[in-house]
């Protein structure tokens, strides 16, 4: 079952790498988003995927049942999602300002200056 998700991760990383190697700043940010998607999925896969019920402690019980999914990767992915959002938002505003002051979205022209 993992094989298809492994391929998905590979494709996401490949797309991210390709976009990060472009000259355009917009593509750089797209690449960053791809990277964070891929990494989130990677971390999520680190837990076992065989147990699929949400990690809750049932009403009236004190300990979670053994069928619930691994909660730790979920917590980590959650943290990473939120931070990733912060970074993406900041990067977006940054390129907006960058374009305003430099008049270009091309990295190579940034170097020439």
């Amino acid at each position: 079952m993992e094989i298809i998700l492994a391929i998905v991760i590979g494709v996401l990383y490949a797309a991210g790498v390709y976009l990060l190697l472009r000259r355009s700043i917009v593509k750089l940010i797209l690449g960053l988003i791809f990277f964070s998607h891929a990494t989130n999925l990677l971390v999520f896969l680190a837990g076992s995927l065989s147990k699929v019920s949400p990690p809750f402690v049932q009403e009236g019980q004190k300990v979670a049942q053994s069928t619930v999914a691994d909660p730790l990767p979920q917590a980590l992915v959650l943290t990473s999602l939120v931070i990733g959002f912060g970074i993406t938002a900041f990067a977006l505003v940054l390129i907006y300002r960058f374009y305003q002051s430099s008049g270009t979205v091309d990295f190579d022209q940034l170097k020439e200056d």
């Binding site: 079952m1 993992e2 094989i3 298809i4 998700l5 492994a6 391929i7 998905v8 991760i9 590979g10 494709v11 996401l12 990383y13 490949a14 797309a15 790498v17 390709y18 990060l20 190697l21 472009r22 000259r23 355009s24 988003i33 791809f34 998607h37 989130n40 999520f44 680190a46 837990g47 147990k51 699929v52 019920s53 990690p55 809750f56 402690v57 019980q61 300990v63 979670a64 909660p71 730790l72 917590a75 959650l78 999602l81 939120v82 931070i83 959002f85 912060g86 993406t88 900041f90 977006l92 505003v93 940054l94 390129i95 907006y96 300002r97 374009y99 305003q100 979205v105 990295f107 170097k111």
Partner: protein
Amino acid sequence: MSLIWIVGLVFFLAFLAPFIDKRLGKVSGYLYALLPAALFVLLIRLLPAIIDRHFIVRSIDWFPLLHVRLSFYLDGLSLLFGLLITGMGTLVLIYSGYYMQHYPMRGRFYFYILLFMGAMLGLVLANNLITLFVFWEITSFSSFLLIGFNHERPEARAAALQALLITGFGGLAMLAGFVLLGNVGGSYELTDLLQNGAVVKSSKMYVPLVLLIMVGAFTKSAQFPFHFWLPGAMEAPTPVSAYLHSATMVKAGIYLLARLQPILGGTDLWQFSLGLAGAMTMLVGAYFAFTQTDLKKILAYTTISALGMLVLLVGMGTELAITAMVIFLIVHSLYKGALFMIAGAIDKTVGTRDIRHLGGMWPVMPIAAVATFLTLFSMAGLPPFLGFIGKEVIYDAKVQAPQIAVYLAILAVTANIFMVAVAFLFGHGVFFGKRKDPPKIPKEPAIPLLIGPAVLSVTSLFMGIYPAIITQPLVMPAIDAVNASPVDLHMKLWHGLNLVFLLSVITITLGLTLFFFRKRATKALRKFNQRYFKIEFTDLFRRLVENFLSFTKRHTEVVQHGYHRFYLMLIFIVSSLLVWYQLYHTRGWGFQANWEEIPFYLLGISLLIITSAIGAVFTRSRLVAIVLLGVIGYAMAFIFILYGAVDVAITLILVETLILVLFVMVIYHLPGYMPKYSRPASRIRDGVIAIVFGGFMTALVLKAEFIKLSPPISDYFLKEAFTKGHGRNIVNVILVDFRGLDTMGETVVLVIAAIGVISLLKLKPKKKEEEE
């Protein structure tokens, strides 16, 4: 008083110097002279203990883990150097009091020179190799500052840099040698190493460590082929030349070699290398001194020659050679310090120190003339001066050297013939002959400028007549320290009619002959130099430095090219190759490619993500790319739900929506998707890199599945979430309770990002003002 306090006190007062100078003005120079004078007296008072072989060791821990101790050791050799440093220091500071009085930044000068004095004292008193190295580097550094003191002059800056690069390079080599020595000898303390000489000599590392330490000593003591920085160092104010570049700092290398002689000396390598370098330096220095016209340059080359002689004597290592070394060390410091001070005094009063513009000064400055001639006689090795005794002992040492006696004697006589000729050339050129056209009207130099030369020349005369004054208390303990065995020494002026005396007579006669034929000789030699000694070491060195700089510049331009994407590319390529290699190396990943087991919805979602990703990469429309990115985000949320990660899915949907909105807002203000920036070839290249990278991530995931690590900590969370965290949603409990600090950090990141976004949006961009 502890030795540590002596060194510390000098450093402390050095840092105060600029402030004292600001308060006291011109007289401060004379005041500073009190410090070395006091230390001189203090060291003299320690003499009796040292003569009785009660050596002083003091130490405190500095970096105990690295075996670096701030430890100090006083025996005959350190004491002799200590007396030279403080004694010469006193005279030089009195001299500077007058010489430097009209210089701007006088306070800074005293700071540097006291800094040097403290470091030099620390160097000769240090018992720990690393401590010694630290002081050694401080002397190089203060020498750099002092050579470049007239920093408006480009020549001074170049000379200072040259001296720093050469001595700094040597210092680093020496440090490496010290580390080897410390490892082999089992300790960094000189007192321990002195017991372990045999172990060091028989070790495999002996050759490299000796060579490395030699590089350090040779660069510092201006040995051929590193000698050329010393004439350049004459750019420094004259008190500095007298102090650092003749009497003390350049002798640090000699000190080090003499200090390590009992540990490292006596082998063929030691004798041969020191002998060769010393002999070469001795000849080169004496020869070039003869053709110079600048008084200070003449003195610089004779200093080089004298340093070569000292290294040669240390290398020979016989009892007699060490005796000669110690005596010559004292002799040379006395006469060379005096001569430099006189050269500076003449420069100051007459306005030039070019021997071609000087002459006939005898009637106007009789005191200076007398002092000069007294010291020159000592330099030429005429009786009854200390220089005569020094030369006699040197000849004696060489005549009695095993095997190579004849060659050494010839070399020494040749160098000394030039020395005699140079001494007469110097004296005659300045004081006799026709008066030329000096820039200022000559008069007797001011008294403070003459105190130093007078004291030194009279001392030299006095010690020559009564040599016993220095043999018992000074020379013997020093020899004792180098030879590590007590010696019996009797110095006297008259040795009787023997081979050594004959050599002295030959030297003086030939030297005088060379002097009488000076015009023809210098002319011929200059012509000879122009034809055969075209290589200027300074130019060579400058070219070397320039080539090195342009090489590193080219190199840096290749590595640090400034293209963001190529930095990334390098990271991607290197990490992919490394991981692929490792995957190939360990192999053993297996996966069941059982496609039928995959539920159809998962397959569908996966295909959706893959096609969207490919579409987002290749689309020509920004909006399509963003929408496809959104599709990927929602599809991933679906996967999360499938595997029970409800909270993650909800968050992802929220985040994805927000980013989508933000992206569209920003994109609206940016120019459309650019005309194709990159060529097809580079697209293919990047595509290959991307596939290789993505491929290894896939392989990594599949391989990771088969690695069993220690039991997951999740079990703990599952068990304790409710009982300890009082929450039924375990993920929530982890976030806000078990890993609450993480979440706080995350919140901080968000706040910072928010502040960043706001300030970026609020700040108005500066209008481009200049329209050129």
